[in-house]
């Protein structure tokens, strides 16, 4: 199965957060814990349900990722943009405008 990570938006400010190995939620994508078995995915789903019930997060989803050069990368552009923020500033800088 493809590797998965668990992501959601934080209730208070809508900021994207990723479930990480220490059992908390991190604002850093690179801290995300990876599930590589269906059992681990089930565990993620349970974690998400509990965090939703505790009103920490909303809109939890499992996201497909892969490792590239030893780093985690989300397969969908949408998730990469969620992880890195709008692509806008970087473009303007590239263009020196």
């Amino acid at each position: 199965m493809s590797l998965k990570i668990l992501t959601a938006s934080r209730l208070t400010d809508g900021h994207p957060v990723w479930y990480c190995t220490d059992g908390g939620w991190s604002k850093e994508f690179s801290n995300a814990a990876v599930a590589d078995t269906s059992l681990a995915c089930l565990l993620f789903e349970r974690v998400a349900k509990q965090a939703i019930e505790k009103n920490e997060i909303v809109d939890a989803t499992l996201v497909d990722v892969e490792t590239r050069d030893g780093r985690l990368v989300a397969l969908r552009l949408r998730e990469r943009i969620r992880a890195n923020g709008p692509t806008i500033t970087s473009y303007a800088q590239n263009q020196s405008i």
């Binding site: 809508g14 505790k54 809109d59 709008p86 303007a92």
Partner: protein, 556 residues
């Protein structure tokens, strides 16, 4: 400008208090997200990719300096120092925290603004001509009627749960600058042969998944019947509009499936009942609202015509800006200034707090304290003496707002797309940035001439791609962005939906494809007086397809 009366004040204050309480309860865990979501949407609060987004209504795109300053303050204090003006003449803040939103709404209410009905299946913010009350080609100011519709539709109990959202636009000039024929109801103010004011009613226009140009429902409805006739239409829609499938729920689909004639019969029958009832607008009420919108006193300033000519010849950049960004005012000594929010490589429609403050100051000093937001995502100073143009230009230049590109290819309409929007399939802003950079030379833009290029990041079409002369729609294919190109769309007079060129283009190809379209146009136009859209109408799609694809249909 319209000022809130006691009723408006009380209803906004009550809503702020109610929603503040709901936010508090949500944060305290007394409400689930399922319970809270419809409540936050009723108050313009969306959850986007990176944060919550607050959409604030700017009724018919009219603002005072004080209101714009407040928006600047909100962007600075609660957001990241900028706001995004939208194709519905509203503003969106991209980064507010949920916990701050009650306070933001409180601040907005201090300047008679709110976020009510900027989402949900209700009658949305009524849009209008951004040159209203100033344009040389206007026969009547549409804003009083937009205001009457705003008051009537605010928290309308019968119409707060329609099958789908409902958009109304009103214009009153020879040129339709509000794209009324892609609205659920489009109203065109006119006079009949006796000089009486009334409206042509267009109905069933819209973009999205199934784009349609509105049909003429009735050629003339007297002004006093504005609300009765509008009620009749929405009541019939509310009754028959589909609720089983949200893609088929707009009034355009009802008209398409039922037929205009049959619906017209029902609407007319309903209107016959409503016509003499309490919805009939007394002339005194119309006059009272009209009084809020009377044109400010504009002193004659003829001495400036000569000076302006001199200043223009002395400063070519200023001359270019006057040429593109200043439109005729009904008073010959005045002009309407459009402030472009489309700098090269910039984000269409974005303005920083500093820029908003500068524009608010300019409006206060030089434009009778009035401002407009256009659906093209620019700002407008409606009443500027020609003699003040240079000082305004110099001020705008110093704050990065002096792009001389109104109506040119870099004056791009673009939705937030995948950089912000949770529904998006592809980015819009980055495509806009690349196109404006590719065509950054003013001379080249002038060579291309009048053109409208629109970009949407998904089929919801917030970037109006269907009615762009060149339209770009982002879709997702196998995890990558793909852009469909349409040609020949047009908003306003002679409204038309664009035709798809063929297979889509990757994010690396799309800017080249646009350039191919432009080069093809330049090579076949009869003269530089023949605009892109006129040329397209004359020669059709075939030549453009040939230039874009090889015989196998692949992009060249």
């Amino acid at each position: 400008m319209y000022r809130y009366d006691e009723f408006d004040k009380a209803f906004v204050a009550a809503r702020v208090a109610e929603f503040s309480d709901q936010v508090t309860r949500r944060l305290a865990g007394e409400m689930t997200e399922e319970e809270f979501m419809p409540l936050r949407l009723r108050n313009g609060v969306y959850l986007q990719l990176h944060a919550y987004m607050l959409r604030v209504a700017i009724p018919y795109g009219t603002l005072s300096s004080r209101q714009l300053r407040k928006l600047a303050h909100i962007a600075r204090r609660y957001d990241r120092g900028y706001g995004h003006f939208t194709t519905r003449q509203n503003i969106q803040f991209n980064w507010p925290r949920l916990v701050d939103i009650p306070e933001i709404l409180e601040e907005l209410s201090e300047v008679e603004m709110h976020a009510i009905q900027t989402s949900g299946n209700c009658i949305r913010n009524v849009t209008s001509d951004h040159f209203a009350g100033a344009a040389a080609d206007e026969f009547a100011d549409p804003r009083p009627y937009a205001e009457i519709l705003r008051q009537w539709s605010s928290l309308h109990p019968e119409f707060s749960y329609l099958p789908r959202k409902f958009k109304i636009a009103v214009v009153g000039a020879r040129i339709d600058r509000a794209a009324i024929q892609v609205h659920d109801i489009g109203l065109w103010l006119k006079r009949d042969s006796s000089g009486k004011l009334g409206f042509a009613f267009y109905v069933g226009g819209g973009q999205g998944r199934t784009p349609m140009v509105a049909r003429l429902l009735r050629d003339f409805v007297p002004e006093e019947d504005l609300l009765s006739y509008t009620t009749a239409i929405i009541r019939i829609y509310n009754l028959y509009g589909r609720r089983d499938n949200k893609y088929k729920a707009r009034i355009k689909i009802l008209i398409h499936e039922t037929g205009l004639e049959k619906l017209r019969e029902e609407i007319e029958a309903e209107f016959a009942i409503l016509k003499t009832g309490e919805l009939k607008l007394p002339q005194a009420d119309i006059d009272a609202i009209n009084a809020y919108f009377h044109t400010p006193d504009l002193a004659d300033r003829p001495e400036w015509h000569h000076n302006l000519d001199w200043l223009r010849s002395d400063d070519p950049a200023f001359d270019r800006w006057v040429n593109r960004n200043v439109a005729s005012h009904r008073h010959p000594d005045y002009g309407i200034v459009t402030i472009s929010l489309k700098p090269t490589g910039g984000v269409p429609g974005d303005a920083t707090s500093v820029q908003m403050d500068v524009v608010a100051d300019l409006a206060e000093r030089y434009s009778k304290d009035e401002l407009r937001v256009s659906y093209h995502q620019n700002l407008v100073l409606p009443h500027v003496a020609l003699g003040d143009l240079k000082v305004i230009y110099d001020t705008l230049l110093a704050t990065g707002l002096a792009s001389a590109n109104i109506g040119l290819i870099s004056d791009i309409i673009a939705c937030p797309g995948l950089d912000y929007c949770t529904l998006a399939n592809a980015r819009s802003i980055s495509v806009a940035q690349q196109i404006s950079a590719r065509f950054s030379s003013h001379d080249r833009q002038m060579q291309v001439g009048e053109i409208q290029l629109n970009i949407s990041g998904c089929i919801n079409a917030c970037g109006h791609h269907h009615v762009g002369h060149i339209g770009i729609l982002g879709v997702e294919k196998k995890g990558s962005e793909l852009y469909q190109l349409t040609l020949g769309g047009n908003a306003g007079n002679n409204c038309a939906i664009g035709e798809i060129t063929g297979r889509g283009f990757s994010s690396d190809e799309i800017v080249d494809a646009v350039e191919t379209v432009i080069n093809t146009y330049l090579s076949v136009r009869e003269s530089n007086k023949e605009s892109f859209i006129s040329t397209y109408r004359r020669v059709g799609m075939a030549l453009f397809r040939q230039a874009l694809y090889d015989v196998t249909g692949r992009a060249v």
